[in-house]
C-alpha cells in the first residue's frame, strides 16, 4: 500500500512525460499486432453483450461498435450457413475474419487475423463452452451474466495474450479449480466474505 502511495506524486509528473512516447509505442503496436485472436464476444440473441474480451486495444467506443456490428453480421445468418465471415469495419484498420458459433440463446463471436486456423478456432469455442459447462455444472446464460469474473478466469486459462494456450478441457478445468480452491481455502471461515463472494 505505502509503496504505491509513494509513487503517486512521481506519477503525476513523470507519466505526462512518458505518455507521449507511450502513445507512439501504442500506435506502432496496433500495426504490429496483426496476428492472433483479436477479441472474443458473447452476445445474446437480442444483441446484448454478455462478455467481452479484447486482445488488441480498442477504445470503449470501438468496443461497443464492434459488439453491435458483429451482432448485426451474425444475427442475420441462418443455421445452415457457414460459421465464417469476412468483415471490414470502417473504424478499424485491418480486415478481420469473424468466426462464430450459436448456442441456444448465445452467440460466441471470435475475431481473428489471417494466420489463425478457422476450424481450430471453431473447435476452441467448443472447448470454451465445454469447460464452462463443467465449471458451472450445466451452464446457462444466467451463469454468464452473474459470474463474469469466473468466466474470465476460465477464458484466461484458454487464451493468453491472443494466442491459444490450452485446448484440453481437463487441464483448463484443473487450472481454474486450483486458483478457486486457493481462494476458498483462504476465505474459509470468513462468513462475511463468503456471503459477498460465493453466492
Amino acid at each position: 500500500m505505502s509503496s504505491v502511495c509513494l509513487f503517486v506524486n512521481i506519477q503525476q509528473s513523470a507519466v505526462k512525460l512518458y505518455s507521449h512516447s507511450v502513445m507512439r509505442q501504442f500506435e506502432w503496436l496496433l500495426k504490429f499486432l496483426l496476428g492472433m485472436i483479436r477479441f472474443l464476444l458473447i452476445i445474446n440473441n437480442h444483441g446484448k453483450a454478455r462478455l467481452t474480451k479484447f486482445y488488441s486495444f480498442y477504445s470503449e467506443e470501438q468496443q461497443q461498435k464492434l459488439v453491435r456490428e458483429c451482432y448485426a453480421l451474425v444475427t442475420r445468418r441462418g443455421e445452415e450457413m457457414c460459421n465464417f465471415l469476412e468483415a471490414s469495419f470502417p473504424f478499424l484498420e485491418n480486415d478481420l475474419r469473424i468466426i462464430y458459433r450459436h448456442y441456444a440463446t448465445l452467440y460466441f463471436v471470435c475475431g481473428v487475423d489471417a494466420v489463425e486456423s478457422e476450424l481450430g478456432i471453431l473447435d476452441l469455442i467448443q472447448v470454451f463452452v465445454e469447460t464452462l459447462d463443467r465449471c458451472f455444472e450445466n451452464v446457462c446464460e444466467l451463469d454468464i451474466i452473474f459470474h463474469p469474473d469466473k468466466v474470465h478466469y476460465v477464458l484466461d486459462e484458454i487464451i493468453v495474450g491472443g494466442l491459444v494456450m490450452e485446448t484440453n478441457v481437463t487441464e483448463i478445468y484443473n487450472a481454474v479449480q486450483l486458483a478457486n480452491n486457493q481462494e476458498a481455502r483462504l476465505l474459509h471461515g470468513n462468513k462475511a466474505l463468503n456471503r459477498v463472494f460465493r453466492q
Binding site: S19, F32, F57, L85, S117
Partner: protein
C-alpha cells in the same frame, strides 16, 4: 482472519457484483440512468479505505466496462487492489486490470515493482496472475524491466508456469524487440520440452514469429519437422504446418523436403481441421510439387461435396489459391463449383462466383453466362442479397469487356455471332431484367459503354444494335416491341401488361439515362439500318423519354435529324420512301417546334436549329416533298456519310498536334494592356515563359512516350482497335469468309428470337489442353470411378463421434457434449434439397464437354475473328 472480520462490517451492506447485476436487471425501464447512478456509487466505493470494500467495488467495474463505460479513471484503485497480499483481492485486482487497462494507461509504471515481486514468487500462484496480466498489457517500459524475470520463468519446474511464460515472452518481444537475441535461445529450449502442452505453446509462438519474420525461424525447421512427424496433438500439428507454410516462402528447398510427409498426412489424416491445414500448406507453400497438388485438389473436392458449409467455404478459398498456378483444378470440379452458386449461404456463393469468374474462357463463356443470367433472374425474384447480384452483373460485364484480367481486346468474344449474342442476350437481357428494378448507376454506365463500344467496333452487329436501341426507347416508357405477325419483320408497339405498369404510374419506368443516351446515339449514327423510321422518330421524340429536367432530348433531336437525312438519301434512289419522308417531316416539324419552348437551353437550341434547317431546305408542295437547296442537302448528307471508327493509336501519333509553341510566343494581350499589367507589377513575360517551358517539355515527353508505346505494338488480329481500311482492301476475302459473312447478315434477324442458333464453337482437342497445363490428361473418369467420397463419408462419420480437437460437427455435439444443459447447440443443419440439385446437374452435364477444355482459341477461331476487322 478473525480480526479482519470486524473491519469488514462497514462493507457488510455493500452490494456485491451479483447484487449489482440483479438490481440493474430489475430497472429495465430506466437502465441508463440507474447505471449512471450506480457507477457514481461504485466510484465512491473505490475510494474506500477499507481494502475489501475497495476490492469488491473494483470487481464491479467489470460490469461497467461491459456496458461501455470508460473506467480508466479508476486505474489507481485497481492497481491498489492488485498490490494487496490477500489472494482474492490480488486475483480480483489483476483480473480487472487486465480487462480495463491498456498499454497506454499512464499508471502502469506503478505496477513494475509489483510485477517483478510477483513474478519471482513462483511457489504461489502469484506468478501465474502476473503472467496473465502481462499477456494482456505490456508496453515497452514494462517489457524492458520484466523480460529477464519472465525469461527465467521459461525454465521453471512447473509446466504450467513455463507455458504461460512462453506466451508472455512473445508479447514482450512484440513491444520490445531488442530482447530477441537474449530470449530466443531460451525459447528454442522449449521446443525440446518433455511436457506436450509446453511444447505446443512453444510451437504456437514459433508459428507467430514465422508469420512475422520467417528468417528468424528458419534454423529451427529440422526440429519443427521432427515434432510434426511424431505429433499426435492436432492443434500442435496445425500450428507447425502454419509455420512451415510461412517458411516455404523463404526457404525454397523446404517444399521438396516436406513432400513425403504431407502426402502421407493427406492420405491418412482423419481430423478435418488438420486435413484442411495440409491442403492449405500445399495451396500456399508447395505449388511446385505437382503430385501433392493433385492429391490436395482431390481432398478439396471431397470437402466441397460435403454438406458442411464451413468446409465448403474454406475449400473454395483454397481452390482459388490452387487455381492461380493450376487452373485445371477448377475445371475438373466445375460442377461442384456451380452447385455452390445455388447455396443458400451468401458467403459461399460469393466464393464460388469468384472461382466461376476464373473459369470463363472463350469456349465456355456462353454457357457460363447462361447460368449466371439464370441465377440473376432467380435472385431478382427472390430479392436476394444485393451484393451478390451486383457481383453477378459485374462478372458478366467484365467477361465481355474490352480488357479482362489484363488481356487486351475482347478475350471471350471472337466471332461476330458471339458479339450478336453478347449484345442481345447479355446486355439487352440485363436491361430487360432490371427495367423494374434500379441498377447501380455504375452498371448502367458500363452496359451503355460496352453497347456503344461493340457496335462501333463490330460492323456486323449494327443491325441488331439498332433494333435493341429502339426497344430500349420503348421499354423506358413501359412498352414493348413485338414482331408483327402480318407484315414481315416489322415491329409493333405493345403495352407491357403486368410488371412495368405499376412503375409507369410511379413515373419510374424510365431506363437510366446512360442507356438512353447510348440508344439515341446508336439510332442516329447507324440510321441506315433503321427499317421503321417512323417508329424510331416516335421513340426518340415523343413525351416522357427523359425526365422533364433532363437535357437528354438534345441527343434525341440530333439523332432524329440524322435519321431524316438518311431517309432523304434513300428516297433519292428509292421512291417508295416518299411517304415516310413526308410523314416524318410533318412529325418532326411539329415536335421540334413544340420543343423550342423546352426549359432546357440545350434542347431549345437544337430544336430551333433543326426546325429552321428543316423548314428552309424542304417544302411540302402538292402533297410532295421537294428540296429547295439541292447542293446544301447533299453537303449535309456527306457530313454524316463517313463512318466513325475508333482510331488506332498509331494513327493518332501521326497526327500533328497544334503548334502551341508559336502561338504562345505571340502575346494575347494588346500592348496597352500589357503595359498596364507590367505597371501593376506583374511580370507577364516571365510568367509566360515559365508556363511555356512547362507546357513544351510536357508535350515533348508525351510525344516521346507515345512513340515508345507504339513501337513494339504490332497489330494483333485480336485487337479491335486495329481497324485498318488499307489492309482490308489489300487482302481479298476468301470464299469461306464471304460465305460466313453472308450467313451472319442473313441470320442476324433470326438472332433476335433464338440467341443460341449461331454457336460457332470449335472444340479444341485434348492434347492442346495438356500441353498448356503442363499436366497429364486430367483423369476425370478415374476420379469418379474410385470415388473417394464413399470411403470419406465412412471416415467422417466415425470421426464426428470423437471429441477433442478434431473438427466436430455441431449437430453431433448437440446430443453428446452439452446434453442436459440450457446451452444446447443450435438446431442441426437442415438438409439441403437434393432434387433441385439433380436437375441442375443434368443440364450442366450436357455442357460439360464443351466447357471442359477451353483454353485457347484454335486457328479457325482466330481466322474468323479476323474477318470483322
Amino acid at each position: 482472519m478473525t480480526g479482519k472480520l470486524t473491519s469488514y462490517s462497514s462493507g457488510f451492506f455493500q452490494q456485491s457484483l451479483q447484487d449489482l447485476i440483479r438490481s440493474v436487471r430489475a430497472h429495465r425501464r430506466d437502465e441508463t440512468e440507474y447505471l449512471a447512478k450506480k457507477f457514481a456509487q461504485v466510484q465512491q466505493e473505490c475510494k474506500s479505505t477499507e481494502p475489501s470494500e475497495k476490492a469488491i467495488a473494483v470487481l464491479k467495474l467489470i460490469y461497467f466496462q461491459l456496458q461501455g463505460y470508460n473506467v480508466s479513471s479508476e486505474a489507481f484503485h485497481i492497481i491498489e487492489a492488485m498490490s494487496r497480499q490477500e489472494w482474492w483481492m490480488k486475483r480480483t485486482g489483476y483480473l480487472v486490470a487486465s480487462l480495463t487497462l491498456s498499454p497506454s494507461t499512464d499508471l502502469l509504471l506503478l505496477t513494475t515493482n509489483l510485477l517483478k515481486k510477483d513474478l519471482s514468487n513462483v511457489q504461489s500462484l502469484n506468478a501465474s496472475l502476473a503472467l496473465s496480466f502481462l499477456s494482456c498489457i505490456v508496453n515497452e517500459e514494462i517489457g524492458r524491466e520484466c523480460v529477464s524475470d519472465i525469461s527465467q520463468l521459461l525454465s521453471s519446474p512447473k509446466p504450467y508456469i513455463r507455458k504461460k511464460a512462453i506466451f508472455v515472452v512473445f508479447r514482450v518481444l512484440l513491444v520490445y524487440p531488442e530482447a530477441t537475441t537474449s530470449v530466443l535461445p531460451r525459447l528454442k529450449e522449449r521446443l525440446e520440452d518433455s511436457d506436450t502442452s509446453v511444447l505446443c505453446a512453444a510451437v504456437t509462438v514459433f508459428a507467430e514469429l514465422a508469420s512475422r519474420n520467417p528468417k528468424l525461424v528458419v534454423p529451427y525447421i529440422p526440429r519443427l519437422y521432427h515434432i510434426l512427424q511424431h505429433s499426435s496433438n492436432n492443434w500442435m500439428s496445425i500450428k507447425i504446418l502454419k509455420t512451415l507454410t510461412a517458411l516455404c516462402q523463404v526457404e525454397s528447398r523446404l517444399s521438396k523436403k516436406l513432400l513425403p510427409l504431407i502426402q502421407n498426412m493427406l492420405k491418412n489424416t482423419k481430423a478435418k481441421s488438420l486435413l484442411y491445414e495440409c491442403c492449405r500448406t500445399v495451396a500456399i507453400g508447395m505449388l511446385d510439387q505437382k503430385e501433392v497438388v493433385e492429391l490436395c485438389s482431390e481432398r478439396l473436392s471431397m470437402f466441397l461435396s460435403e454438406k458442411d458449409p464451413n468446409l465448403k467455404y474454406l475449400s473454395l478459398f483454397l481452390m482459388k489459391k490452387l487455381e492461380s498456378s493450376f487452373p485445371v483444378v477448377i475445371y475438373r470440379h466445375k460442377d461442384i463449383i456451380f452447385d455452390c452458386l445455388d447455396d443458400s449461404d451468401d458467403a459461399i456463393r460469393r466464393r464460388a462466383l469468384d472461382l466461376v469468374r476464373r473459369l470463363i474462357s472463350k469456349s465456355n463463356f456462353k454457357e457460363i453466362a447462361r447460368i449466371l443470367m439464370r441465377k440473376l433472374r432467380e435472385e431478382s425474384q427472390w430479392l436476394g442479397s444485393r451484393g451478390f447480384r451486383d457481383s453477378l452483373i459485374h462478372t458478366l460485364l467484365d467477361a465481355g469487356s474490352y480488357s479482362f484480367n489484363g488481356a487486351e481486346g475482347f478475350p471471350n468474344l471472337s466471332s461476330s455471332s458471339d458479339f450478336h449474342w453478347y449484345l442481345y442476350s447479355i446486355l439487352h437481357g440485363l436491361v430487360k431484367i432490371y427495367t423494374d428494378e434500379r441498377f447501380s448507376i455504375a452498371h448502367m454506365m458500363k452496359i451503355a459503354g460496352q453497347f456503344v463500344d461493340i457496335v462501333v467496333r463490330v460492323e456486323s452487329c449494327r443491325k441488331v444494335a439498332v433494333n435493341i436501341a429502339l426497344e430500349w426507347l420503348w421499354l423506358s416508357r413501359g412498352k414493348k416491341l413485338v414482331l408483327d405477325s402480318n407484315s414481315n419483320g416489322l415491329f409493333q408497339v405493345v403495352d407491357v401488361p403486368s410488371q412495368s405498369s405499376s412503375l409507369a404510374t410511379h413515373g419510374n419506368g424510365l431506363l437510366a439515362e446512360p442507356l438512353l443516351f447510348a440508344a439515341c446515339w446508336i439510332l442516329g449514327e447507324y440510321s441506315n439500318w433503321v427499317e421503321q423510321p417512323m417508329l424510331a422518330w416516335k421513340g426518340l421524340l415523343q413525351d416522357h423519354l427523359f425526365r422533364s429536367h433532363s437535357s437528354g432530348y438534345r441527343l434525341a433531336i440530333f439523332a432524329s435529324w440524322k435519321l431524316f437525312l438518311q431517309c432523304w438519301k434513300r428516297f433519292e434512289t428509292d421512291t417508295e420512301f416518299h411517304d415516310i419522308v413526308k410523314e416524318g417531316m410533318i412529325f418532326l416539324q411539329q415536335v421540334w417546334s413544340s420543343m423550342r419552348t423546352n426549359p432546357q437551353p440545350l434542347v431549345q437550341e437544337r430544336a430551333h436549329l433543326f426546325y429552321y434547317l428543316l423548314s428552309q431546305l424542304w417544302q411540302i408542295r402538292d402533297e410532295k416533298v421537294t428540296v429547295l437547296y439541292d447542293v446544301a442537302v447533299t453537303d449535309l448528307i456527306q457530313v454524316f456519310e463517313k463512318p466513325l471508327k475508333p482510331v488506332d493509336s498509331t494513327v493518332q501519333s501521326k497526327y500533328q498536334p497544334f503548334e502551341w509553341d508559336k502561338k504562345w510566343n505571340e502575346s494575347i494581350l494588346d500592348k496597352e494592356e500589357r503595359n498596364e499589367m507590367i505597371a501593376q507589377g506583374k511580370d507577364m513575360l516571365q510568367h509566360e515563359k515559365e508556363w511555356l517551358q512547362d507546357n513544351v517539355s510536357k508535350q515533348q515527353i508525351e510525344k516521346e512516350s507515345q512513340k515508345d508505346a507504339h513501337k513494339p505494338r504490332l497489330y494483333s488480329k485480336d485487337d479491335p482497335f486495329y481497324i485498318s481500311s488499307s489492309r482490308k482492301k489489300r487482302r481479298p476475302k476468301s470464299h469461306k469468309e464471304k460465305a460466313i459473312e453472308a450467313s451472319f447478315t442473313d441470320r442476324s434477324q433470326g438472332l433476335m428470337e433464338e440467341e443460341d442458333t449461331l454457336v460457332l464453337s470449335s472444340q479444341p482437342n485434348d492434347e492442346t489442353v495438356q500441353v498448356f497445363m503442363g499436366l497429364e490428361k486430367p483423369p476425370l473418369e478415374n476420379l469418379k470411378e474410385t470415388s473417394p467420397y464413399e470411403s470419406a463419408n465412412v471416415q467422417y462419420e466415425t470421426l464426428s463421434s470423437k471429441r477433442g480437437l478434431e473438427y466436430i460437427d455441431i449437430s453431433s455435439l448437440q446430443e453428446e457434449v452439452v446434453p442436459s444443459s440450457h446451452l444446447k447447440a443450435a438446431s442441426s443443419r437442415s438438409h439441403r434439397k437434393k432434387q433441385t440439385k439433380k436437375k441442375k446437374n443434368k443440364s450442366r452435364s450436357k455442357s460439360k464437354d464443351a466447357a471442359e477444355h477451353n483454353i485457347q482459341p484454335t486457328n479457325e477461331q482466330a481466322e474468323e475473328s479476323l474477318i470483322q476487322w
